[in-house]
């Protein structure tokens, strides 16, 4: 049985831990609000953008744009978007597992794989494979559109130089505060909008006046589209990260409470046992004097 003092110290330690986890929980909650707001603000832009993109890309030959060119896949690049910090449950681990699986799938087909990591967690995880082409650490806290643009330009340049024939992006999708799921999406080559949407879109687009020509607009739009995709993934990850941290820190605080409860029981039992022992001594001593 642990001594009284040891148990007391332990209770103190756990209490302090629970204070920290509680504080982290509240910080994460505040940051989550900010991240969700950012996502909310971005939504109208993304929706409008996709609508215009659909209007334009329908009925266009995908082979005529370098960013839409479908090549035989020899090298694939996986863009892994994770958080910079840990202590958010299994959130990063899930993303990394998915990226890992994707890599194995490519390699099983005899294709080369390279990584581009946004966020420290992914970078440190894939470092040992030696396949990391580029990392963008310390962005997730304060990133803006121009950060996403720099990354998107890099990805596009790599694709155009034929160093990668296909680019996949793996990130954590924010479904709700309680649920974040890893998701992967094909980033390059850009796929034209699906056929059933095309029918509706062509009727509208037929009447449009384009300035400059549709082809030239597409040239401008495709890189922008990449920005939107990367930015969107980063927004999702940042919101998911804070949501995941919030719930995992909540769990940690609850676990601390349980431990404190158990330790207090042990402490009280030990204290009681000590008092009983002392009483026995006194009674024993008194009996001896009497005799």
């Amino acid at each position: 049985m642990a001594s009284l003092k040891e148990v007391k110290m332990k209770i103190g330690g756990v209490k302090k831990t629970s204070q920290i986890t509680k504080a982290m929980n509240m910080v994460a909650a505040a940051k989550l609000r900010g991240a969700q707001q950012k996502m909310e603000n971005f939504r109208p832009y993304a929706e409008k953008f996709n609508a215009a993109m659909g209007n334009l890309s329908s009925g266009m030959d995908s082979g005529s744009f370098p960013l839409m060119e479908v090549r035989e896949v020899k090298c694939a690049e996986i863009v892994v978007v994770t958080s910079d910090r840990g202590l958010c449950g299994s959130f990063n681990a899930n993303i990394l597992k998915m990226a890992d699986k994707l890599m194995k799938k490519y390699e099983a087909d005899g294709k080369k794989v390279s990584f581009l990591c946004i966020g420290k967690k992914g970078a440190s995880y894939f470092k040992k494979t030696g396949k990391v082409r580029k990392t963008y650490p310390d962005l997730m806290g304060t990133f803006q559109m121009f950060n996403a643009r720099a990354i998107a330009q890099d990805i596009a340049a790599n694709f155009l130089a034929a160093d990668a024939d296909e680019v996949q992006i793996v990130y954590g999708k924010f479904q709700s505060v309680a649920v974040q799921k890893p998701a992967s999406q094909l980033l390059l080559p850009v796929k034209p909008v699906a056929a059933d949407e095309q029918a509706a879109a062509t009727q509208v687009s037929a009447a449009y006046i384009y300035e400059p020509s549709t082809e030239e607009i597409m040239e401008v739009l495709l890189p922008l589209y990449m920005n939107v995709m990367v930015y969107h993934a980063m927004l999702e990850v940042s919101a998911s990260e804070h949501a995941a941290r919030m719930s995992s820190m909540d769990n940690a605080t609850n676990a601390c409470k349980d431990i404190i409860h158990n330790l207090t029981l042990i402490y009280n039992k030990a204290r009681q046992a000590g008092i009983t022992g002392e009483l026995m001594d006194i009674v024993g001593g008194a009996e001896a004097l009497k005799g």
Binding site: E40, N41, M145, Y208, Y210
Partner: protein, 140 residues
């Protein structure tokens, strides 16, 4: 008053303007263009510059950077990477940015670095538009 059209300016940070206006003038691909109500469906890319619109006789301006715009059904939507009102512009910062961009542009031209030159040119363009807009705001 004649018919009006709905103006919408959307950036990745959220909607900046959503108003009913009389006329919109914007820096398009082939130069500045104006849009009135009942304009034909139209889609153009937008360059860095100043977007102006008139609402009930009052003229207002925004500095916009690259993106595109769509006109249909009396509605004009701009999708741009950033949009700022004249009052929000920090003139000192824009002036400094202009100096920086000019210096970098000169360096890039000297070294014949095309990529840097394009970037410096864009930065200079942005700074100049900001200054222009800020000055216009003062005189009005």
């Amino acid at each position: 008053m004649a018919e009006k059209l709905q103006l919408e300016v959307v950036t990745p940070k959220g909607a900046v303007v959503n108003e009913v206006v009389d006329i919109v003038t914007a820096p398009g691909y082939g130069g500045e263009f104006g849009v009135l109500a009942n304009h034909a469906p139209f889609l153009s890319t937008i360059k860095i510059g100043v977007l102006t619109y008139k609402k009930e006789g009052k003229e207002q301006s925004l500095m916009v950077s690259g993106g595109f715009c769509e006109v249909s059904n009396n509605k004009i939507s701009f999708l741009v990477e950033s949009a700022e009102r004249g009052a929000d512009i920090d003139v000192d910062r824009a002036m400094k940015a202009r100096e920086r961009a000019e210096k970098r542009l000169a360096e890039a031209v000297q070294h014949k670095d095309k990529f840097d030159r394009v970037r410096a040119e864009a930065a200079l363009h942005r700074a100049l538009s900001r200054i222009k807009l800020a000055e216009r705001g003062k005189s009005a």
